[in-house]
């Protein structure tokens, strides 16, 4: 805590120095505020921090790189930095190690309140939540209210807040529901160590469906399972968003880079929407050549691509933060208390915590350039195989 606070202070002072330096530089050119016509040197080299290892969840960013969309938007080099859990994206952004970061909204809200730093959600890539709670068909857990007295698996590490928010909406907390930490495999459910396990539609749910049911000798199917989608509950929270440094956004060069960056990744995600098979295979190739990423096999990546597309292309404008969904996320974050009785946040986040200014500008420019982001995603049929290979 103290470390991150100190880091935050360091950043604030660094930002202040930068701002002073920039003020000194821009003093020479007479500029109006808000105009960005050549009174700064455009950023051409940026870094993006992911929240996990390369996989189809991040397809849009890798495609922007592979398909040259970053170059089209004037970037010479964009480094996509994976995280093996060692790097917390928002912390890396605060520390100035990267220029933009992908992170779930509730996790960042927690960081913002705990450390007092300022970050801005400049694009809400995933419009819907991909978190589910999965149980066996015969166990009778079809809604969050059924959690009462049951043993519920959760990952922790900030991935658990939707569970607690959904429970809070049903008047449940960790005194009435037994919350157990589960690992990232689905063995806890398969061995009946929990009544319902947490699973992302695009990852762990697929892993379950890639496992052979010893009773039948065939893979498990959705008919064997009851799935509660948190998106349908009061606990739904916004997930993968692109975060920028709030104070740095006052620097016209950074703000301009943000818009160009969003244009490039919007094109990347558009490619993934229209060519899911190709996108999944490109990401799989990148992931399997990445250092020690050990992705689950190609079929799994295709499943993930399909599910991720469903979360992104919900019919809303790409990347625009839906105010209602934001408010729901904040309300959930305020109401949730974890198994240790600790809240995620206690006050509303600052108004600067999200801004549609940059994504709207990016979308408008893309429209002028004839890139059509309207339209929806047509889900494909993915037949899973054992082990996703």
């Amino acid at each position: 805590m103290r470390l991150s606070k100190r880091r935050g202070l360091g950043l604030v002072s660094a930002a202040a120095v930068t701002a002073l330096a920039l003020a000194a530089c821009s003093g020479t050119s007479d500029t109006d505020s808000g105009s960005d016509d050549g009174d700064f040197t455009p950023l051409t080299s940026i870094k993006l921090q992911l929240q996990w290892l390369p996989q189809a969840q991040f397809a849009g960013y890798y495609l922007a790189q592979e398909k040259g969309y970053f170059e089209e938007e004037g970037f010479d080099s964009v480094e996509i930095v994976p995280s093996g859990g060692d790097i917390v994206p928002q912390d890396a952004l605060v520390a100035g190690d990267v220029d933009f970061a992908i992170a779930w909204v509730p996790k960042v809200l927690g960081t913002l309140e705990a450390s007092g730093v300022e970050l801005t959600d400049i694009a809400q890539v995933f419009q819907a939540s991909g978190t589910t709670q999965v149980s066996w068909k015969d166990s009778g857990i079809t809604s969050v209210a059924d959690f009462e007295g049951k043993r519920i698996g959760s990952w922790g590490f900030g991935n658990e807040w939707e569970i607690f928010a959904a429970m809070a909406a049903d008047g449940l907390d960790s005194t009435s529901v037994s919350i157990t930490t589960q690992d990232f495999s689905m063995n806890a459910l398969l061995d009946n160590d929990v009544d319902a396990a947490q699973a992302m539609t695009y990852n762990e749910l697929a892993q379950l469906l890639e496992t052979v049911n010893p009773a039948t000798g065939e893979l498990y199917t959705m008919d064997d399972l009851d799935v509660i989608y948190y998106e349908d509950t009061e606990g739904a929270m916004l997930q993968d968003a692109i975060w920028a440094d709030t104070q740095r956004l006052e620097d016209p060069a950074y703000a301009d880079a943000a818009v160009r960056f969003l244009k490039a990744i919007a094109k990347g995600w558009l490619y993934a929407r229209d060519n899911p098979e190709d996108a999944a295979s490109i990401v799989y190739d990148i992931a399997s050549n990445a250092e020690a990423a050990f992705p689950v096999g190609p079929v799994h990546q295709l499943w993930q691509m399909n599910e991720v597309n469903k979360l992104i292309w919900t019919g809303a404008d790409f990347g625009v933060v839906d105010d209602a969904a934001w408010k729901k996320t904040v309300a959930g974050a305020l109401s949730a208390t974890n198994q240790d009785g600790l809240p995620l946040i206690t006050t509303d986040p600052a108004a600067s915590a999200y801004s549609n200014e940059y994504i709207e500008k990016a979308l408008a420019e893309l429209k002028d350039e004839g890139v059509d982001l309207s339209g929806s995603y047509t889900p494909i049929e993915v037949t899973l195989t054992e082990g996703g290979q």
Partner: protein
Amino acid sequence: MTSGRAQGGAARRWVPVAWGAAGIVAVALLWELYKFVGPSEGVVIGQVEGEAGSGVLILPRTHDRAMPHIWTMIGRLFEPTSGGSTPPLFVSVAQAALLSLGIAAVGWLIGVAVGMLLGLVMQRWKLLEWGLLPWIVVSQIVPLIAFAPVVNAIGNQIDRGGTPWPQWLSVAVIASYLAFFPVAVGVLRGLEAPDRIHLDLMRSYAAGYWPTLLRLRLPASVPHLLPALRLAAANAVLGAVVAEVSIGMRGGIGRMLIQLAGQASSDPAAPWGPMFGSIVLGLIAAGSVALIGLGLKNYRRGEATA
């Protein structure tokens, strides 16, 4: 491990090898035997009907997800790591193991250097022994998973400050933290090992500290030093693997194990690849130290086994 046995005939030299192989076969047989006779869902006591996860598992589950067959695990080693055209698992395991081995070796070197220095100064000045030894013992109580992120955070700050500090260096430092302990204690005991009569002889020669150290104490410390170095090697490997996992460094065998364990529901044999890899790693590390022992053959009288 006594020198007498090693100097025996060629046939007798194969005896330990045969015993080693028999041990591995016995473990494999036990595994398959328990898998065959043990109940698929294990033995749980105190289970409440209809309550998931209740009771205590006293005998492990034996189904294919919990205990894959030995031949499934070995077969998996020759299948692609991540499906598609990725290299076979054993190749990935070997690469990861080599990286971890390198880091552990650096950690071992740091640990041995620090441990020897500590042992030397503690032997030289009794006051330092009284002052340092309790702290050295206490240092090993600190849980590694609590200590590792601190080292990583310090390393990151140094790196940010401009001095390059790659992540593997943090792992090596953590490995050395486990490795220095047996060396410090072993060197101290070893340097104090010479008999009173030999020390008195040196004194009667009017030999000072350095000649006594070089001609008497160091040679006499070898039987204590070698087991300490071996322990340090095993500790360094253990420290490196745990540190990789707790600070999230990629590329090593610990990280690979965690990655594949996360996919263990649908691919249960895969995590056993890096598990075998880390066993081999530990053997290689301990074996390399045995090579040092060969060079010091003349001093290995009455070596304590460890």
